[in-house]
Amino acid sequence: MKAAIVVFPGSNRERDAVAALEAASGTKPYLVWHRDTELPKVDLIVVPGGFSYGDYLRSGAMAAHSPIMREVKARADQGVRVLGVCNGFQIITEAGLLPGALMRNGALKFVCRVQHLRVENTDSPFTAKYAKGQIVRYPVAHGDGNYWTDAETVKRLDGEGQVAFRYVADDARSDPRGNPNGSVSDIAGIFNAKRTVLGLMPHPEDAVEGLHGNTDGKPMFDGLVEALS
């Protein structure tokens, strides 16, 4: 599997993504600068976490209009897999690859903690290595992770299997205590209609080795390598 990571000047989890992808695939991903206008031929594009252009405006709003994002959108339309994590989720959502919007956390504070999630759909290369309903732990670290879309869209996302992950409490139940940012319907990550694009707030790339305290994120990268090699 060949992967490219899009790097904005304020990206800060691109190194974490490099490490996770390299460990899973044995190949160093390409790093593509935000001002570039072309992407190498790859099977997966990752838009990593960070603060793109500072995000003093709405998170990801400016990055969505960067030269490289035009190319990312074109590739996504061709079916190339796209993974947006945290700021990456905000950027690809602002760019229109996914429905909805990410708002300020409900508590108006940045939140960094290990978060329990429920895997809602395993019919994608991102989630194929998990079991449906499996509870996994990924860290979250964000200030603007409060996913919102209208009730009708939530219903449609659920009906078409586009909800990838939901926040749950430590006891695996749906509970406001388990939702770190107030997102609608506890949504942590969603797919596009074809399930070729995944955006999520939590960081699977920071849960891939013993040092991280758990390796629940590893199956995502292993699954991608298996499906895309």
Partner: protein, 741 residues
């Protein structure tokens, strides 16, 4: 053409103006003598910040010189932007802690944020990529009307800055005490790693070499910030808000990446950040260290306001700026890098052989004065000081009327502001970015962060027990260093060196100066005995409001190394049936203990003494056990004493403890804060081995019980459930912060 300023518009220089700028009458006379004439307005401004307490260390220097600063591991001690220590394999760790107290009280969000930004720059300017941030915070009483607002702003500011730049904030400490009601302490520490052959220093060299300005544009913010930080607060200090700088972490992130990229080339002669006193201190220090002169023409300097005067530019503390001396002809190479990162880049002058600081702008010369005489004449005072009177250990009469159950006492202690969980704070910090965080402090006695791309890890801790320092500055200073050393040993790291952040009141008062002198003596003694030298530091004096001083707070940032991050041990109990041991002996010292203050309402007595030889013996023993893989959980005995230590380990792991050593034990045994001790959990199969090893090493070790159940219990049944303790412990801070005023 932008608006201009002229020299003729400036105020006339007089003794009066000098006083307004913070210079004493003698200092002003000294300036007149050196120049042989009246300084210009610009020159007076520059002299006043160079001679401010904050920049000149005039009250503290004579004592700081006595601290041990060398050792085989030390590559660069105090005097540069940060300390540099060898960690093997051609790698160095570069670190420093610095205060941003005064600005954080006036404008907590920006004060704390720019504190983080400043300390980051001190570290990456030497060529290191920052890998961890820590902070040591002291707030006033929770009952004080400003405390909630200050906690909220400071924490948001630290998070807002650190999270954006992508450096994990991995811990620190937070205390509350009424003595900080008018002067909070915000001490920020950054740790970075570099290659030992790629370390950058600040001494300028090469006459004619270009002087380059990079980073943010200069505005009128922070003018005379260094002077503000060198005076006591009074009722009207809030009016000083305009002297607080405003931070832009996104620009800092760009500056980190651009500087590190430039450091990969061979274009740099010297580099320094513009911190306190901005362009003044950076240009004067760089030229001064190189024994050269420097000529600046400020017309091309990137400015964000119109008609700025050289005085404003030289004293501005606008953030995210660096000054670089380049090799001749490398301007284009450097500019291309800063263009890539969309940062301002301007050649603003060159080095000269005159030894003078010359500043030109708008066609006039605003400053032309010799650097060395002014720098060397920075005042150095041996201020009068009084030793702090010794206190006796408290007697048993203090707990004569104490009849509370142990469970109730523990629950109260776990909900007291100093022991309560600080989750509300640290969840606002990104502690994981980079993917190298093994432990943040709280999970282990020290934060443990892997060196990127390697197996080895750096351990980091910040420590100080201000109530000990107030009661006995010498023992308190010793204790702060010893506890840092102990916390590093407790995770299995070899302690290497410290940075000290000395926060005190007004040094012109002999009693306060005595606290400073005592703390330095104690720190020096401990550093020598533990081979734990001081490699960087910062002094913050005048932390007083209306004559009320803070507790003496010499915050110690300790750094250690371990060959494999995965061998680090945390505090959490990990499963039932492990044997709980205490390493080291307690004599039941209750003076200045948390039990005495929180349960009996007394702040009295002598603090626990530190026996440095015992400290070293016990710590070396524990570290050895961890390296042999014999330890499951490890936690030093500190605030609250032995029983609190065990309860913290139980809470962290969600596993209780059945304790057999405390039947009918006195509060002295349970809550005494005797030093040099550790609680360990070891697998039952190796407990005998550990005890034999202890005997051989001459280290006292005793069995306290075993890990079991979901409560602290003893032969008399449950003492307290973990659930009750956790609710008390986790509840206090969120409850406090969400309560209405």
């Amino acid at each position: 053409m932008s608006a201009q300023a002229t020299k003729a518009q400036e105020r006339a220089v007089s003794a009066e103006l000098a006083k307004e700028f913070g210079l004493s009458a003698e200092e002003y006379q000294n300036a007149l003598d050196i120049l042989g004439r009246t300084p210009t307005f610009t020159e007076l401004g520059i002299i006043s910040v160079m001679w401010s307490e904050h920049c000149s260390y005039k009250s503290s220097k004579v004592w700081l010189k006595t601290l041990p600063t060398t050792g085989p591991q030390v590559i660069c001690g105090p005097g540069e932007n940060a300390g540099v220590v060898d960690i093997g394999d051609g790698d160095a760790v570069i670190f420093k802690m610095e205060s941003h107290n005064h600005p954080s009280y006036i404008e907590p969000y920006q004060g704390a944020a720019t504190g983080v930004g400043g300390i980051l720059r001190d570290v990456f300017t030497m060529g290191a990529r920052p890998i961890a941030n820590m902070n040591a915070l002291r707030f006033g009483s929770p009952d004080h009307p400003k405390t909630r607002h200050l906690v909220s702003g400071v924490v948001a500011g630290i998070g807002g800055y650190g999270n954006c730049v992508g450096v994990p904030t991995v811990g620190g400490e937070t205390n509350f005490h009424p003595a900080y009601n008018g002067n909070i302490l915000v001490n920020a520490m950054t740790v970075g790693v570099a290659k030992t052959d790629r370390i950058f220093y600040s001494a300028a060299a090469g006459i004619g070499n270009p002087v380059v300005y990079v980073g943010s544009k200069t505005g009128r913010d922070g003018i005379h910030g260094a002077t503000m930080a060198s005076a006591e607060f009074t009722e009207d200090s809030e009016e000083k808000r305009p002297t607080v700088q405003v931070g832009d972490p996104f620009t800092e992130k760009l500056l980190i990446e651009a500087c590190l990229e430039l450091m990969e080339t061979d274009a740099i002669v010297a580099i320094q950040d513009m911190g306190a006193a901005g362009l003044t201190s950076s240009s004067v220090e760089m030229a001064g260290k190189g024994g050269l002169g420097i000529e600046l023409t400020l017309d091309t300097l990137p400015m964000r306001e119109q008609a700025m005067t050289p005085y404003e530019i030289m004293l501005s503390e606008s953030q995210e700026r660096m000054l670089i001396i380049l090799k001749p002809g490398r301007e284009e190479v450097a500019k291309a890098i800063f263009d890539k990162w969309e940062l301002d880049f301007a050649v603003i002058g060159h080095l000269t052989d005159t030894g003078n600081l010359v500043i030109k702008m708008y066609g006039e010369t605003w400053c032309d004065m010799p650097i060395a005489p002014v720098s060397n004449a920075a005042p150095e005072y041996n201020r009068p000081w009084e030793p702090t009177p010794a206190l006796a250990e408290v007697g048993d009469e203090v707990f004569a009327g104490y009849a509370e159950s142990l469970g109730d006492t523990l629950t109260k202690l776990f909900a007291c502001p100093d022991l309560a969980s600080k989750r509300w704070i640290w969840e606002q910090y990104d502690s994981l970015v980079g993917g190298d965080t093994r432990f943040m402090s709280g999970q282990a006695d020290a934060a443990v962060v892997r060196v990127p791309g390697q197996k080895k890890a750096v351990a980091i801790t910040t420590d100080c027990t201000p109530r000990y320092c107030l009661a006995d500055p010498v023992e308190g200073g010793k204790q702060a260093v010893a506890e840092a050393w102990r916390n590093l040993s407790a995770v299995g790291a070899l302690p290497l060196a410290i940075t000290d952040n000395m926060n005190f009141g007004n040094p012109e008062k002999p009693r306060i100066m005595g606290q400073f002198v005592g703390a330095v003596q104690g720190i020096g003694e401990a550093c020598k005995a533990l081979d734990f030298p001081v490699v960087s530091g910062n002094v913050s004096l005048y932390n007083e409001t209306n004559g009320e001083a803070i507790l003496p707070t010499p915050a110690i940032g300790g750094v250690g190394i371990m060959p494999d991050a995965m061998t680090a041990v945390g505090i959490a109990f990990r499963g039932e049936g492990d044997v709980i041991l205490v390493v080291g002996e307690g004599k039941g010292h209750l003076g200045q203990s948390l039990f005495l203050r929180e349960i009996l309402g007394r702040e009295e007595g002598a603090p626990p003494p530190v026996d440095l030889a015992v400290e070293r013996r016990n710590g070396d023993f524990v570290r050895g056990l961890i390296h042999e893989g014999l330890v499951v959980s490890s936690h030093d005995v500190a605030d609250g004493g032995l029983i609190v230590t065990i309860a913290e380990m139980a809470l962290a792991g969600g596993v209780g403890a059945y304790l057999t050593a405390f039947d009918g034990a006195s509060p002295r045994v349970l809550f005494g804060e005797d030093q040099g001790r550790y609680v360990l959990a070891v697998r039952s199969g190796v407990a005998a081995t550990v005890q034999e090893k202890a005997k051989a090493a001459g280290v006292p070790v005793a069995v306290l019980g075993e890990t079991r159940g979901t409560a602290l219990s003893g032969r008399g049944g449950d003492i307290v459930s973990l659930k009750r303790l956790r609710d008390a412990n986790e509840g206090w801070l969120p409850g406090y912060m969400s309560a209405e005023l």
